[in-house]
Symmetry: C2
């Protein structure tokens, strides 16, 4: 699902080309690892939102936005590289995780390199743009550490979950929307509108991610399901299942989630309990609610093809299977 | 050795204050880990060179340079956090390494956070300044990966070593010098002079580091010696010892360096062989040569107190014991 089948495939190709340029290094191994991860595809949600936001406010010359979109994707890839090391995930985007293939040391440094290349791209822009990006990265780190602190903590509430998700997933997407709208010459109202759209969309995106981690098809996903249970990430589905199942199920799920190093059987048992609780449907409804809110935020935007594309992107994200 | 006993202790305090401000986060754990590493002291070589370079070209208002110096120290600390994870080092600056105390996940994210905060500081500056910093970071990542590729490779030459060291240690220091001189209003010749000074000084600094890793006092260093042998980092001392000792010693050293997971006895044996080969004195002389070259690069600078301090810094670095 490289393109979401929207009308910006040319721009997304430009993003890919610019990424390829940016990860070039005299140290071929750095380029190879970076290309291994980025070349594996991914949903390009950040570039997509940034470019659509740019056009939706009337932007004409997309080159600058392409560069920032590439920078956002580099940052995202850096965090994926580091996250995989943290999570001990063995697969990513249908391939062996980079740290498994190239070793922890090399994957870690490649992540740092990608961060740096992203900011190097940013350095050509006005301070406000770099500041928005850096701010999103700081919040991302905060979300990540909060998630770590609360890992395996069955007292995590929906409010906690939304706060973590806003920082980890939603604001990086919203930052791209904001920058796209600024570069597109949007007025303050429009810039705020797409930022809020990006935030709501990002939360919906994460909830769908969490759903797929329970009921997704591993071959389509390109990675195993059950990662959240294994890592003790308390998703909306786990929160719901902990409140709704039979008391026996609730206790069993809590025990598995709290435990480090569960067996595969325990992980599957936890997934069964989550499904049985009805939490999947509830989560899909919550995702749809955030999606509706995202759409509503676009009110201030002028009507047109790219506003329609932003609206359609919400539906594509809600329906996605990988 | 927080201050090098130079006349810029006030400015270095300002750097520390600004670092403290920059690592503040709503997530107290992020701030705590960052403070744990940065508060442990360190030599502040990058801020020192940046501030002295600023004044040496006639700079007056030091606030901006203080901020950039803080950013450089944040980047340095980020790489230390990540390096320690890579190296499996258990101590750093006399304390338990952060990843041992807080876990790999938290240390990794805190490193990313520090990178981001550094670039966030940079975002307030003109693009050229961010570009110099990002460029130094990219070269740093290249040096790091090259060192990894060549780890335990006894075919590494002095030329290879200098190339790796230039990227990993020297250019980040030189970048600070360059930025300091630009912000201080130096002319092109002065800016180039302090950049080259920083490069030569940085190589001298690293060679002394390598010497201390062989013959340093662990209590003064705040970390165990023998790290380079353990990690298979082919330092100038190892290169020399591999060429100069008895054929028996040379073979024994090569075997130990090539081996993963050496015993403590083997590490100590390797250090003994290095000392016996005379490589320590040779390395000290090489460091002194780079130091002299650093001094010579300062020719274009106007005479004055801060030029003298830059010269004196070379001697302090050559004499340092930690």
């Amino acid at each position: 699902m490289a393109s979401w089948d929207l009308t910006i495939s040319k721009e997304l190709s430009m993003v890919s080309d610019f990424i390829r340029e940016s990860i070039h290094s005299d140290e071929e191994l750095l380029t190879e690892i970076a290309d291994y991860v980025i070349g594996a595809g991914g949903k390009r949600i950040r570039p997509t939102v940034a470019i659509l936001s740019f056009y939706a406010v009337g932007g004409k010359n997309v080159e600058e936005t392409v560069k920032i979109a590439a920078a956002l994707e580099l940052i995202h890839t850096a965090t994926l590289l580091h996250d995989d090391i943290n999570d001990g995930s063995s697969r990513r985007r249908g391939k062996l995780a980079a740290y498994k293939k190239y070793g922890v040391r090399s994957a870690l440094v490649t992540g740092d390199f990608l961060f740096t290349q992203a900011f190097s791209i940013g350095s050509k822009f006005e301070p406000a743009i770099v500041e928005i990006t850096a701010e999103a990265c700081s919040r991302l780190a905060e979300g990540e550490i909060r998630q770590q602190i609360r890992a395996r903590d069955v007292a995590v509430t929906e409010k906690d979950y939304i706060e973590i998700t806003t920082r980890k997933t939603a604001w990086p997407i919203a930052a791209g929307a904001k920058i796209g709208a600024i570069l597109g010459g949007g007025n303050l109202e429009e810039v705020l509108a797409v930022f809020e759209y990006g935030t709501e969309l990002g939360i919906a995106f994460q909830i769908v991610d969490d759903v797929l981690d329970v009921v997704g098809n591993e071959d389509v996903l390109g990675k195993p399901t059950g990662t959240d249970v294994r890592e003790g990430n308390i998703t909306l589905l786990i929160i719901d299942a902990l409140q709704r199942g039979s008391s026996e199920d609730r206790k069993a799920l809590a025990d598995i989630v709290k435990k480090e190093g569960q067996t595969s059987e325990e992980v599957h048992r936890a997934l069964d309990i989550i499904v049985r609780s009805g939490a999947v449907d509830i989560a899909r409804r919550r995702a749809a609610e955030f999606g509706e809110r995202a759409k509503a935020k676009l009110g201030p935007l002028r009507p047109g093809r790219f506003k329609l594309e932003l609206l359609r992107l919400v539906d594509l994200i809600l329906k996605r299977e990988s």
